[in-house]
Symmetry: C2
Amino acid sequence: MSEAERAVRIGLLGCGTVGGGVVQLLRANAASFAERVGAPLEIARVLVKSLAKDRVPELDRGLLTTSADELFDDPSIDVFVEVMGGVSPAQAYLERAIDRRCSVVTANKMLLALHGPELILRALRSGVDLAFEGSVGGGIPVVRVLRDACASDRIKRLTGIVNGTSNYILTAMSQTGMSFADALKDAQAKGYAEADPALDIGGHDAAHKLAILALIAFGARVPDGSIPTEGVDRVAAIDHQFAARFGFVIKHLAIARRTGDGLELRVHPTLLPRGSNLAHVDGVLNSIALEGEALGPCILTGRGAGDMPTAVSVVSDLLDVARARRVGAAGLLTRGVRIAPCPLLSLADVTTRYYLRFAVNDRPGVLARIAKALGDANVSIEQVVQERPAEGSGAPVQVVMLTHDAVERNVQWAMGEIRQQDFLEGETQLIRVEDA
Amino acid sequence: MSEAERAVRIGLLGCGTVGGGVVQLLRANAASFAERVGAPLEIARVLVKSLAKDRVPELDRGLLTTSADELFDDPSIDVFVEVMGGVSPAQAYLERAIDRRCSVVTANKMLLALHGPELILRALRSGVDLAFEGSVGGGIPVVRVLRDACASDRIKRLTGIVNGTSNYILTAMSQTGMSFADALKDAQAKGYAEADPALDIGGHDAAHKLAILALIAFGARVPDGSIPTEGVDRVAAIDHQFAARFGFVIKHLAIARRTGDGLELRVHPTLLPRGSNLAHVDGVLNSIALEGEALGPCILTGRGAGDMPTAVSVVSDLLDVARARRVGAAGLLTRGVRIAPCPLLSLADVTTRYYLRFAVNDRPGVLARIAKALGDANVSIEQVVQERPAEGSGAPVQVVMLTHDAVERNVQWAMGEIRQQDFLEGETQLIRVEDA
């Protein structure tokens, strides 16, 4: 067999639903992939935890093994594809693959969020590729667009709806007026939220994705836990109503903004003007809006999760990596991600607008005292709505404000002052506003 | 100087506004580009028509020449970047560059639409790259996404808002109720429409872009003039009003759909449901919605035109091409576009829904005769609105219909029948409907 025809041999690490999708795509498009790569793609061996489990019918079960050594000791394997998820043992496997000078494709969000920079540097040192489109944004090709299409420009800002569960819940609350608890139950019934939804509704999943996006877009190393994170569980039905009255919708956003001083990263529910590009991204769709200095806005929308969209991303990476290897150009793609020193800014220094809501008991002078606390902190108010409940309902008065641009530190100081007042009934609410 | 440090030398063909943007990006990002490519990028020579004209200050005027031979006879040039536009002499220049085994980057829409397949095949034969992100969609990285990110999937359908002038006009008409003529004047006053807007408002610019998109997405050769094309100049203010009443907006779309029989391509104003992904893309923004078999929907939105967004696309191609050349992997990208036999379907065979409007004089039996002509052609009606004008206004009655799915040939037969009736006052209107 001539070198031109020698197959590119793949070690598949994991074969759950995404892995099954990879197997199906490789089978269904074998001829066109071979033409593109210049050689057939062949699965050499598949590492799984259980030999007994059901697999997609396209998989030759003779390739299954529970021994990682069988893959790492097989010198015929050219490329590893990791779709097992989790940090351990995936991290050790990828390091072994890279150290063997095999290029690696991974869809592992947690691993990239926690250890992306080291893995990239390791791949660069070994002269191989580490491709990870599937690790963030499911089928949305945001890694490729940031790494390659935006390589000629500088990204100023990135805002994304990157958690489908959160977006489904907010959309349902906004469109039907239902409570957070009911919207969560609805999402669980439809399979859009896990039985334990904490990672999604607490915003932590979105923070992991933002860490990966910040790595590609800005070369930033983002230590675990360093992104200020709030989840959709903080938003009440009444906040959607007031937001709508002011001309906004509430979306859960991951935000990165480059300033002269460093990089601002944050994840939280956000008021967005009804006409902005992300305001109409509803349900489980995800969307990432980039803003380049020269490019202007570029918005990518699609399925942020799901087995087949993620498998498409994994296989598109595999085609790139396999083709590069065939022509002796491994490592080319990975050079596109440049890790650079990039200080992370404190949330306290963020300047933005704020939506504030206070449930208060109805007596004279309350608004004046809230306004004074804000004024003392140099926070100026753009709009106020004070809503009295139906007579005799016993519900508190809602005082709702939109501020002008203000510094987070000052707003938090004022909120601390207000929280000590005796007129408050229940929690205060603070939701940041983005203007586009 | 070691080979590792030898610059990649660029022959720049044309230096208008996009070319000036390319020069500026190369200057502003020189260090990061050199790191990415593995060698500095250096402009060797710049072909222009006039040495006297003003250029961006970043350009060394000593590089200017009016002699193409000075570039093609310079053996130090590695890559050509064509930003002159027009078919002649750009076509001959690109052929010369390719035949010299230089990779080529172009932003030339007309050239790619008319001669894309030959140029790609020529580049493949020479083992060089032909990259053309800037030729379609301005700063939207749709070529790259189709060529690379979607390489692992099969595209079923592509719908795009790809002409900013048309979208600006339709948005203005829809939002303010103004006439087409006034919206066009407004667009011209704001610089969004050319003095001679025929290519834009007649849909021909969108048809050229669709030919390029069909080439990348489906490998289709699309002969000039073979795409059924209608422009926004056909849409009246009253159509926006009726569309809104039915829950739709009118957008000018370029549509490609793969069926078992071949490829359906068409460009025309379209009724879109208000909740669909493209319905909220307003003003001069462009947006392209892809639908992959496994990927599902993927929507790319951004600036479809403009010097700097296009320059970003050109330079991102240049980085790819230069890097590939540096490592001896030229030709790698271009292999991603696979030209394949792909019959183009006739518009007569299209099945879709239709919005039909008839201005008629008000007498009994008119609706019955319209309905009969449609029924005879096997076109069934989903909704009808019959609107009487104000008493004594002398305006005709408007009969407006939405059909169920019907075959274009049948609808056109019925429209022919109806046009022969004596109750018509003025033109009939037919606008196709897309359901998402």
